[in-house]
């Protein structure tokens, strides 16, 4: 099977390890991964911040880059939702392909929950808002994590509550964003887990930034990095 990887601008620039882990994981499962060089950004930041005109070339570029692929996989639930829900509305003429969030691709397309990973650490899972409410990925991340050898999942209190990142919300309303994130960080620390994971790097960047400022040793890892580990 061939799949094109849409890595998101954030992972590409700040967290290239997420992309490398995804390639490792998918190749281990027999998927031939392609990374179309024309990709940049799905346009969510511009769209959600009200800059619709600026968003249009990004939506077209996405369609031009990925339109020829039958299968597109992305490491961000939030960006997957942006493409799935909004690209056609922004540009009805765009040849936007179907995009799978990584967990969906693993469980629904490859039909696998045990990806052969080993990660002997305590882990807390942050369920992201867009993965739950816009994609409806349900318990897929949890199922994938529970098949990882050596991994001990710690339950997060108020797991369904937003971490407060919200894209430009984090800088346009920094006080509220940080207050929400601080409460999330408290709940993460209360689990005693060594690693916080999720299906969106953006939330992790925000919660991790707050944890780091507190001097906490809790690591943040995208789910792909855990599933790639052996």
């Amino acid at each position: 099977m061939r799949a094109a990887l849409f890595l998101t601008c954030l992972d590409d620039t700040l967290f290239p390890g997420v992309g490398k882990a995804t390639v490792t994981l998918l190749e281990r499962l027999g998927v031939a991964v392609d990374y179309p060089a024309g990709q940049t950004c799905c346009g969510q930041m511009h769209f959600n911040s009200g800059y619709r005109a600026a968003c249009m070339p990004l939506v077209r570029n996405f369609a031009d880059t990925f339109g020829g692929y039958d299968t597109v996989v992305t490491t961000s639930a939030s960006c997957a939702a942006m493409v799935r829900r909004h690209h056609r509305l922004i540009d009805p003429a765009a040849n936007t392909p179907q995009v799978h969030e990584l967990c969906e691709f693993l469980t629904d397309v490859l039909n696998v929950t045990d990806v052969g990973a080993r990660f002997p650490h305590t882990v807390a899972l942050h369920q992201t808002c867009h993965s739950m409410r816009l994609l409806g990925i349900g318990d897929r991340p949890r199922r994938l994590l529970s098949a990882v050898r050596g991994l001990e999942l710690r339950e997060l209190d108020r797991a369904a509550e937003c971490c407060g990142f919200g894209g430009t919300f984090s800088v346009k309303n920094p006080a509220v964003s940080s207050a929400m994130g601080s409460d999330k960080a408290d709940n993460v620390l209360a689990t005693g887990a060594h690693v916080l994971t999720s299906v969106d790097t953006s939330c992790l960047m925000h919660i991790g930034g707050l944890l780091s400022r507190r001097g906490s040793g809790t690591q943040i890892k995208h789910l792909a990095e855990i599933l790639a580990a052996t």
Binding site: G43, R52, T168, G209
Partner: protein
């Protein structure tokens, strides 16, 4: 009123407020989940609620005329008010015509919206709120902070203090030795209000619904103060937003299931009062219905924005909102706070027709777009979609006004337009960040978004090698 981010910062600093709100919203959130989960057809009810309201909005002029005909036939008088000033003038004139110097009030969002109490006060008319929470707000010379529970920001010892110091100035004083026991506080309010119920000649209410086919108006409440106001006085004046219509009694059934479970998390509210015009010898002998536009028709003009007019003021979206839970309602600078306020207030203030002031323009941005509000909304208003829709209006209105934000967004869009440009930006950022990184994390300061991020958060630096550079090095 300062823009939301500034007002929110002040509110966040109030530890008592955050504790009161956190406690109250957590309890009601859990209760609401319990009572909605026990209905097997809850999702169908939500769909029905949305469909009925959309139908009402699609043929609003006809239904309003039908309502007017039926109310008039039943002995009521219908008045039409374009805006707050007109509505206030009509109500003030009606109260004066009955030579009354005071009115009692049922809790009503529409009258809060038009600031009727202030208008009547200026006309020398005393206004007595009779809902317990509204009474607390009024006696405390305070502002409401929640649609359903206007005094949600107060705890019981604060309420005891307000009753002790303020009740005497407004009528019957608080009993000596009043404690902060809920039963004692309720008894003090009951004694204080009873005098006013028995004395007042004119009552003012809002309405939760109006049934077009018979001209009946519905008030849903918990305390029985509404029933007192709606039955004891000689004259009843109801101020009703034009979107409050339902076509038939059969439609009303859907909302009488949706509203109490969503608002107070009860299967059924204690008091539902429904009246049709006037009934000789029973209840008020004069009934005036003031139909209020005040920005609603302008909202109706926007095909995306109009779904905000489905709102039945249940406040479920406030109770589940992580932003509201931390800032409280006053930070929104409107009687409609929380997620629904963030989409309703800008539209009622005319954002669909013209640029709005800075405070109003800040409201659609007062959300992380987490989507909890949509899940909770009994009439399925897609609040996140509407927030983004209104953000675009704000940005479009500011077109031609350069700002740091617009510059950044334009620069970002330019970098994202071509992969080659993005690669160059990534290389420069990677080098710059390495010079500034300490202990593996960036800690910067500065103006605008940079300072906003780094005031509370670290950041991992841009990678030495972006993924796209790594891929090119390894896969070509």
């Amino acid at each position: 009123m300062p823009p939301f981010p500034v007002a929110a910062r002040t509110a966040l600093a109030d530890q008592q407020l955050r504790a009161n709100l956190g406690r109250a919203t957590t309890i009601i959130r859990e209760k609401r989940l319990r009572v909605t989960a026990e209905l097997p057809d809850w999702e169908l009810l939500r769909l029905a609620g949305a469909a009925i309201k959309d139908d009402v909005l699609a043929r609003l002029p006809d239904l309003l005329e039908q309502l007017e005909t039926e109310v008039t036939a039943a002995g009521g008088v219908v008045h039409w008010a374009r805006d707050a000033a007109e509505a206030n003038a009509i109500v003030t004139r009606l109260v004066r015509e009955h030579n009354s110097r005071e009115v009692i009030k049922v809790k009503s969002m529409a009258t809060q919206e038009i600031e009727l109490n202030a208008a009547l006060g200026q006309a020398g008319i005393d206004v007595w709120e009779t809902d317990l929470a509204e009474l607390i707000v009024q006696l405390g010379h305070d502002l409401p902070s929640h649609i359903l529970v206007p005094a949600i920001h107060r705890n019981r010892s604060e309420i005891r203090d307000i009753f002790r110091s303020e009740m005497a100035g407004a009528g019957r004083a608080a009993p000596p030795g009043l404690t902060d026991e809920p039963a004692a506080l309720a008894e003090a309010a009951r004694l204080h209000l009873r005098e006013k119920f028995l004395r007042a000649k004119v009552a003012i209410s809002g309405g939760n619904f109006a049934v077009a086919e018979t001209g009946s108006v519905v008030v849903v409440e918990s305390e029985g103060n509404g029933r007192m106001c709606l039955t004891l006085p000689e004259v009843l004046i109801t101020v009703l937003g034009v979107e409050k219509l339902v076509p038939t009694w059969q439609d009303l059934e859907v909302f009488l299931q949706l509203l109490p479970r969503s608002s107070t998390a009860e299967r059924m509210n204690p008091y539902t009062s429904i009246w049709t015009g006037v009934t000789p010898g029973d209840g008020p002998q004069q009934f005036h219905l003031v139909l209020l536009d005040n920005g609603r028709i302008g909202t109706l003009a926007d095909p995306v924005g109009r779904q905000a007019l489905r709102c039945i003021r249940c406040s479920a979206c406030l109770n589940v909102c992580p932003v509201y839970e931390r800032t409280g309602g006053k930070a929104y600078g409107s009687v409609y706070p929380g997620p629904i306020g963030a989409i309703l207030t800008p539209q009622l203030r005319g954002i669909n027709q013209h640029p709005v002031d800075e405070q109003t323009a800040s409201l659609p941005f007062a959300s992380s777009l987490c989507g909890a509000c949509f899940d909770a909304c009994p009439v399925r208003i897609d609040i996140p979609e509407l927030l983004v829709h209104l953000r675009a209006k704000v940005i479009d209105h500011k077109h031609g006004h350069p700002s740091g934000e617009r510059l950044l967004m334009t620069a970002a869009a330019a970098s994202f337009a071509r992969p080659g440009r993005l690669a160059t930006v990534q290389r420069i950022a990677g080098i710059g960040a390495r010079l500034l990184t300490r202990c593996g994390h960036l800690r910067l300061g500065g103006p605008g978004w940079l300072g906003a991020w780094f005031r509370s958060r670290d950041l991992v630096p841009p990678a030495r090698e972006s993924f796209r550079a790594w891929w090119r090095r390894n896969h070509r």
